[in-house]
């Protein structure tokens, strides 16, 4: 039982990180109908921004800040205006293809220009083990990761629900057309979602790289998790992405212990297939109005 609890807590920690990746992805889809197939790479790259900054002599914390800012600029603003903007009017397929191509570009750039080897990524959080309840030992790092994720998510929820800009963003997410009529500066809101997505992805990158090492190929798994989490939770809303991310984190951790490591990756995938078969609106989603 205590083993189970330990695994669940550890799972929640990674789950919080997955949730960050999934939230941004969901927001992008809601506000601008953009399916970002490069989302996994967006979570892989910022770690390398930090590593590069540190190579140039910056100490760890400023390097992290640099990474987040550069991510917001490149993977947020530049992504919006250079990649998505010009292609939106060409239809869905060119945009999908471009994000796929972008994922390849990001992956290969890191592999060719930085390293093909997995890189150790430093962490702010001490690795000390703490005993929460009798028999349940958790590392402080895990608690720290969970805390940071929850604080970030909490901050985001407060922003979305409690500030004017945040509510405008929600309106844009629910129905851009109506929002525009109501006077919401939709274009600016969409830009904000892109920047927020980049920021969340950067945070996820910083939190997960110490655990799984920074490697150019991480994008594939991380992207997959983000997609699955978003869909399983219920594609239409941020709450769903959070629930999905946490659920997958826990399942993944349990699978690592109880299922063969070879098939560990399969668990979220099987979950996806089951959800699509039996509850396509996701765990927290609402039944979509029939469109056709």
């Amino acid at each position: 039982m205590t083993d189970l609890l330990q695994l669940v807590i550890a799972g929640l920690a990674t789950g919080g990180i997955y949730a960050l990746a999934a939230i941004g992805f969901t927001l992008l889809w809601q506000t601008s109908q953009t399916i970002n197939f490069a989302q996994g790479e967006f979570v892989m790259v910022p770690a390398f921004f930090s590593l590069a900054a540190m190579k140039l002599g910056l100490p760890f914390l400023p390097a992290l800040l640099v990474a987040v800012l550069v991510s917001m600029l490149l993977l947020g603003v530049a992504f919006r205006y250079v990649v998505v903007g010009p292609l939106l009017h060409r239809g869905v397929l060119p945009l999908v293809i471009s994000t796929i191509a972008l994922s390849i570009i990001l992956k290969e750039t890191v592999k060719d220009f930085y390293s093909a080897e997995a890189q150790v990524f430093p962490t702010l959080l001490p690795d000390r083990v703490v005993t929460l309840l009798p028999g349940v030992a958790v590392s402080l790092a895990q608690i720290g990761v969970l805390a940071v994720s929850l604080v970030t998510i909490g901050g985001l929820q407060w922003f979305l629900g409690g500030t004017r800009t945040g509510r405008q963003m929600q309106a844009t997410a629910q129905n851009p057309g109506v929002a525009r009529i109501l006077g919401v500066p939709v274009e600016r809101m969409i830009l904000y979602t892109f920047v927020i997505n980049a920021g969340l992805a950067a945070m996820a990158s910083i939190l997960i790289s110490p655990i799984y090492l920074a490697k150019f190929s991480n994008g594939e798994t991380l992207g997959l998790v983000a997609f699955v989490a978003a869909i399983v939770g219920g594609f239409n809303q941020v709450r769903g992405a959070i629930a999905g991310g946490l659920l997958i984190g826990v399942l993944d951790n349990l699978a690592a212990s109880y299922v063969s490591t070879a098939y560990r990756q399969a668990i979220p995938l099987i979950l996806l297939v089951l959800v699509i078969l039996f509850r396509p609106q996701g765990l927290l989603g609402r039944r979509e109005e029939r469109a056709v």
Partner: protein, 247 residues
């Protein structure tokens, strides 16, 4: 004799907003029924519920006594009901003739048979006849996207009839069409109604078009029917005048 189309107690709400509240009416074979009303009165929502694009919150629709509530549009089509759309819905990259053949092909034979049969699914002559009837023969091989707006509207209407439908719902067929084409469109619709005994239900804002084409009208306001009758009766009805002026 049962009416061709029977709508009973149709209701539709979106979240807290009730777009259609308790609408019931009949359409008899051979009629041209006009559905009019101010903006936001629920006309399009009503159409969409009848045609399977939306699931009604409550109520039923029957064609020839057979319940069709909630059936998908493609199933409705096979039962002889078709529609045109408010926003143009032709296939821009197919030719005009191809558009017409497409509109009829799913009603001929079996799907598998179509794979091994003729390229035009045997609809060539019928498409040509439709082209002639709607005066589009000269444009037969042009891509539908290159036609003028009015011509596309004609094509749109023609496509609804290729399926051999007995009941056609026309969603704002006159919208955006210039007066000359409009007369031609009205004339063709009246002709098809006479010759093929096709029954229409028409949503329209263009009063002149509606009054001259339709045999009967119902007026919607705020999701309810506030008046029914011949064009002359409805035009004089004070409740109707109030509804339009009040907006």
């Amino acid at each position: 004799m049962t009416a061709l189309l029977q709508v009973r107690d149709m209701e539709k709400s979106f979240g807290g907003v009730q777009a259609v509240r308790g609408v019931s009416f009949d359409v008899n074979e051979g009629e041209i029924l006009g559905v009019i009303g101010p903006n936001g009165s629920g006309k399009s929502t009503l159409f969409n519920c009848i045609l399977g694009q939306l699931l009604p919150t409550r109520g039923s629709v029957a064609v020839d006594g057979r319940d069709i509530t909630g059936l998908r549009p493609s199933e409705l089509n096979r039962l002889g009901v078709s529609r045109t759309f408010q926003l143009l819905q032709v296939f821009p990259r197919l030719s005009v003739r191809e558009n017409l053949i497409l509109a009829g092909q799913e009603h001929r034979g079996t799907r598998l048979g179509r794979l091994f049969g003729a390229r035009d699914a045997g609809l060539g002559p019928e498409a040509d006849r439709m082209l002639e009837f709607f005066r589009l023969t000269a444009l037969a091989n042009e891509t539908a996207g290159s036609l003028s707006y009015g011509q596309q509207k004609l094509l749109d209407a023609a496509m609804a009839f290729m399926a051999g439908s007995r009941l056609v719902l026309l969603d704002e067929p006159a919208g955006g069409v210039n007066p000359t084409m409009l007369a031609g469109l009205r004339d063709r619709l009246a002709a098809i109604n006479r010759e093929a005994r096709a029954t229409f239900v028409v949503i329209e804002h263009n009063m002149e078009f509606v009054m001259s084409l339709c045999t009967r009208l119902i007026v919607l306001a705020e999701g309810r029917i506030i008046a029914q009758g011949s064009p002359a009766e409805v035009r004089a009805d004070p409740a109707v005048i109030e509804a339009y002026l009040g907006h």
